[in-house]
């Protein structure tokens, strides 16, 4: 069993947890992910590693409540245990030789973008972070990004925090003002990553996107996480989760992501009702 040693609500739908998993903490690197199961009947869900502490033996996960499993997870508290927690899975972010990078995160994706920015910053790379949220209440990790970036641009759709606009607006301005990036790293909603990649393609800047598709085992066994990259089928779990953003077929990935939407809606409703009943 894997104990929750810290729980912090980051915004109304996003929660941070430190999980006691020494073996995973010992090996985890930015860009990799874990798979967890909340309880005995639980679904296996992948979550990207948000941080880790090798000495304490903990791994940090940050998740948004989007379905029944994350809902259940969100109802656990410090001291509770997860039934399963396995990893680290996938390949780590490639950071060698990068001198100047733009990290573009959106929404809860910023939780995954953050350790990448931090690692690059520690390696002496110049980091420009562009982070975007719908509105002020949903902003997470602003301080952390500030500390890990040479330049930070905070964007909100409605202008209630930082600047009003999309991350692509900010990125475009940076590029047009003459910033020369070795690479752009983008992590966030599929639609956002699609447009970030479309933008950087125009300017010929190498772009890496972190994918988080539906999967079961995370070791290459199910093939549920397959994506088309450069016309070839790849498995996000073992070949990724990061890929050349200019080669990813985002439309296919967007379509595949809602494969269980109707199931999820029903299950989510059931779970909500269940918690409601408990509350009564």
């Amino acid at each position: 069993m894997y104990r929750i040693v810290r729980k912090k609500i980051l915004n109304p739908t996003v929660t941070l947890m430190d999980i006691e998993a020494p073996k995973v903490a010992k090996k985890a690197e930015p860009g990799q992910f874990i798979i967890l199961r909340v309880d005995e009947n639980g679904e296996r869900i992948p979550l990207t590693v948000a941080d880790f502490d090798r000495e304490k033996g903990t791994v940090t996960i940050i998740f948004q409540v989007v379905g029944s499993t994350t809902e259940k997870l969100n109802h656990l508290n410090e001291g509770d245990c997860l039934s399963d927690f396995v990893g680290p899975l996938g390949r780590k972010t490639h950071t060698d030789g990068l001198k100047k990078v733009a990290v573009v995160g959106g929404g809860v994706g910023c939780a995954i973008a953050y350790p990448v920015a931090k690692k690059l910053h520690e390696l002496g790379c110049e980091v420009h972070s562009v982070i975007g949220f719908r509105t002020k209440d949903l902003v997470i990790l602003e301080e952390e990004f500030k500390n890990a970036s040479d330049k930070l641009m905070l964007m909100t759709d409605d202008g209630t925090a930082g600047e009003k606009g999309l991350v692509t607006d900010a990125l475009k301005r940076l590029i047009e003002s003459g910033e020369k990036y070795d690479e752009v790293i983008t992590i966030g909603p599929l639609v956002m990553m699609k447009f970030v990649c479309a933008l950087t393609k125009e300017y010929g800047i190498k772009t890496v996107a972190s994918m988080n598709p539906i999967m079961i085992d995370g070791t290459g066994m199910c093939g549920g996480c397959r994506l088309s990259v450069g016309g070839k089928t790849v498995f996000a779990c073992v070949d990724g989760p990061e890929f050349d953003g200019h080669l990813i077929d985002f439309d296919e990935a967007i379509s595949r992501a809602d494969m269980y939407k109707s199931f999820e809606r029903k299950k989510h409703g059931d779970t909500c009702n269940l918690f409601q009943k408990e509350a009564e």
Binding site: E43, D217, G218
Partner: protein
Amino acid sequence: MANMSPVKNPMPTQDPFVRNKNFKEVALGYTPEMAINEAQRCLNCKHKPCVEGCPVKIHIPAFIAEVAKGNFEEAYRIISLSTSLPAVCGRVCPQENQCEGKCVRGIKGESVAIGRLERFVADYHNANTTKKQTRPPTNGHKVAVIGSGPAGLSCASDLAKMGYCVTIFEALHLAGGVLIYGIPEFRLPKDIVRKEIEGLCDLGVEICTNTVVGRTVSIDELMDEEGYEAVFIGSGAGLPKFMNIPGENLKGVYSANEFLTRINLMKAYLPDSDTPIWHPEKVAVVGGGNVAMDAARCAKRLGAEVYVVYRRGMEELPARAEEVEHAIEEGIIFKTLTNPKEILGFYDKENKRNEKNGTVCGIKCVEMELGEPDASGRRRPVEKADSEFTIDVDCVIMALGTTPNPLIKDTTKSLETQKWGGICADENGRTSKEGVFAGGDAVTGAATVILAMGAGKTAAAAIDEYIKSKSNNS
């Protein structure tokens, strides 16, 4: 005097039209009377060709003689000398190609039902014995086993019986490998697998689930830092193949691995499971092996009309005859001499937000005919001209075979592999890396449960020899 009936005692089964709607076991097992009667068909012949046909060399005539006398526990003891998973093997071994294929009674009439007798004996024992296996005295030597499928379990069992301290590392949250995630409940109830694994734990074997060797820990670390003197790799062949035809990434296309894992490991067919699965109306399963039959029969139980699409003929189906028979009885439709060319997707041009956009709506196929034999000796299927046709389906399951996972190869120094990914190992399971042994599908590519068990057993003997010679020299 032996029972000279030319046919086996038939296996009682659930009615096909009842069982194709539930996940309970299809074959119900012999009664003691049936078992004794069947055992009396064994001639106890001198040459024992059946034993030769068994990959783990069970003393078949000896255990059958005890069954004939009604000494079921003694029969169990004899079987246990050679195998650690009799309740599993009695159910899933391809006996017709092994022990039963060599049985003298099979020359005129049907062979002795060795598999059914093995199953009977194991089930009898499991139902009637509460006695736990005693833990042998430990010899203090540590061995790591990677993977808890048939190869790993049989290797661990033999080593534990010799006194080794064995730890099994399993990537998933449950032990059992393909016995748990692949083979469906109606063919191999998971309680049986659990019981066999508990027996192993009674022997002192430790099982670490949620541990991906190559990620959570590497083989080099196990040996250099954690004190394991030898490692057995029984990680199987888990990577699914696809056909690389258009439409394979549409919603509603599953690898058989994913489909079966959702159903068997994650229990997606039960209402209290959080794991989703599609409940399609019409399904095409592509492939003709045992895994294809399993996937087809699972889809049927989810309520679908099911087609098995296979490019050769009925005669060439690689699945066990019994599985094909069961599938036909349950109403699976076979489209043999048929090869898929493309999976067709649904797109609503008027409504881009239609949830069905990007889902499977059909599979375009061509008819095939058999030409000259190819390298494998099987007649090669060739396309018939102008024979294209479409089957309307809303789900396609690809059951085309699997290959070994490259994770261990990529993360272990000086471990040699074949071009196609199989780990290079000699007939005793020795790999190119000292102290590291391998067996089962990780070496051979996808094969059977019993061959993997045989390889695990052979490697256990080689590991014992290796560790003993090393300790003698030091």
